[in-house]
Subunit: 338 residues, 2 copies
DNA sequence: TTGTAGGCGTTATCAA
DNA sequence: TTGATAACGCCTACAA
């Protein structure tokens, strides 16, 4: 309540009758200080409610014990979960997470990075590898540890997942069920290498089966449920609608299912739908969504560990790929079982 | 790549042929500097790729332009969304969000707060008002702006929602449908005033209808889908199972629905289920969940604004209550329509 | 409108 | 094992 000037190192030092240097050591390297003095220092620190000032600390030591994470949006089960596991791992090593989001906008991302850098983060977690050259320069000049997630790049450490394969798995599954006219509802491709890779994977699988993925069977939509509905709607309006749809993310796929149902049709009878991500929701909608599982929590945890290692001087740049797999549920069925 | 010592204010000053003070002003108060010099400074700053160091800045100015948010978990559509809207609002005013989570553990929360305080956050967003006295002392001694969310307290600014009413609305709805034996599956009550209030609301509504909510019709579970299943399962095992269930959060309610269905029974035929939160998923499961809508994104935004105001010296402590309402969908039906 | 100089709270380098 | 004493990089009166 009282506007007591914040307690500082010097106050503790005086109270304990030692020099500031000793207090500093007592906190950072307790082993270097006599146990009796240590106890005395700790006591008065506790008594005064001393909390070390991060700013001064960072300034003097050059380390902020802070990791910045820049994701497209926090409001996504995917990124939220990755960040949660990241932060859990980081806090285990007394690092803190500074988050920023850019809503899938490249320049907003650059700005977020700039801000985080200015805040003095020791490391940076980014999503994807696709960004303007200027942003890369920013990163290079910064001299902080960087880890890319979901999609990587050999310039920096990366925790990746084979997004192209994810697309292939989804398409393959549908192909195996006998589908021949398959559509894709994906997110905006620009500045989203994950979506690009997934679409490429779908295309590759179809091509391998001697099929084509014409433009009218690809719909670019916002990465939301509504986007899924719109995309599906446009496909349904075609003269020859596809018999199966792949969503670039589960949310899109779920939107597709909704749209089909809203027209009095049924999934998978009238339309098979497959997603990519395997968010929790997917297992609980009707019908449960067939999708490609990505180990999101692990991505976050591995990302944190990677950064931690790099900051501790252990290991250099590394690229870790995490496994993915198709989870077959009820939203997909044999073609022509209409 | 090259280990170029990070560019600092002085470098820019030299390059632009002005004093450090001028550069500082050019950045913080451009209006105080001659437009010609301003241009010159900006040019060399850009040329050198200068990024102001937050630590030194915070140390010298006493402000970090950083807001700390401590939530139970990031991995929840509720908190993720609130944080996203918060961060959007904050970044509009060049503040950044530092996040921490404590997994519904009071001492972990205190620790998180301590860390954030040490990082020099200018403001703090917390969830709920229930916490040990020691934590409150920490807050009081810190002298930072604080805003409580979901549940409030008149000691500090709060953006709240009437959780008790949420419980009442849910129960009332069921009562109106003729249900007389209503059960509740809620989260651990300890250190969770939101759940406590919701349960109290349920109890109040029942009591007002001359009914009782005995212990065996209340199940405390982890706030997950699995928790919902377990809770529902135990209710179903009763000699006289309830005809309706209220979930303390949507996720719990959804778990209840799953459990009912897994036994070959149907919602709402065999059991009506109502949730509280209205997460996106709820509208898309089968059957769509009847629930109480809470304006989560607004909570985040209002919280940010509140903090911003307080830091700008405008307005003092305020308590803002956001409206809630029942959203009637398909998971609830008349009692005895079995 | 610009420059000078002191200080913000720690850490880290030397001595003692 | 402890204590002076510089940095650390920026902000901000105060002067010019």
């Amino acid at each position: 309540m009282a506007f007591n000037r914040r307690i500082k190192l010097l106050d503790v030092a005086r109270a304990a009758g030692v020099s500031p240097a000793t207090v500093s050591r007592a906190i950072a390297q307790p082993e270097l200080v006599n146990s009796a003095t240590l106890a005395r220092v700790r006591l008065s620190a506790a008594r005064l409610g001393y909390v070390p000032g991060g700013a001064a600390r960072a300034l003097a030591s050059g380390r902020s014990m802070t990791i910045g994470a820049v994701v497209p949006t926090l409001d996504s089960p995917i990124f939220a979960r990755a960040l949660q596991s990241m932060q859990t791992e980081l806090s285990r090593h007394s690092f803190q997470l500074l988050v920023a989001s850019h809503d899938y906008n490249a320049s907003a991302e650059a700005e977020a990075i700039r801000i985080l850098l200015a805040r003095g983060v020791d490391g940076l977690m980014l999503v994807g590898a696709e960004r303007p050259a200027a942003t890369w320069q920013l990163l290079e000049g910064a001299g902080v540890a960087v880890v890319l997630t979901w999609c990587g790049d050999d310039r920096v450490s990366s925790i990746i997942v084979d997004n192209e394969k994810a697309g292939r798995l989804a398409a393959q599954h549908l192909l195996n069920l006998g589908h021949r006219r398959i559509g894709a509802v994906v997110g905006a491709l620009q500045f989203n290498d994950r979506q690009k890779a997934r679409l490429a994977g779908i295309r590759a699988a179809l091509r391998a089966a001697g099929l084509d993925l014409p433009d009218w069977l690809v719909s670019e939509q916002p990465l939301t449920l509504a986007g899924g509905r719109t995309g599906c709607s446009s496909m349904l309006g075609l003269e020859q609608p596809p018999t199966a749809l792949i969503g670039g993310i589960d949310m899109l796929a779920i939107g597709c299912i909704e749209e089909v149902h809203s027209r009095g049709l049924t999934v998978p009878k009238a339309m098979s739908v497959v997603g990519i991500d395997n968010i929790e929701m997917s297992a609980h909608i009707f019908p449960p969504l067939t999708t490609v599982h990505l180990p999101v929590a692990q991505i976050g945890e591995a990302g944190a560990r990677c950064l931690l290692d790099e900051l501790a001087g252990r290991g250099g740049k590394s690229v870790i790929e995490l496994p993915i797999e198709l989870v077959s549920r009820k939203s997909s069925a044999k073609a022509g079982s209409k």
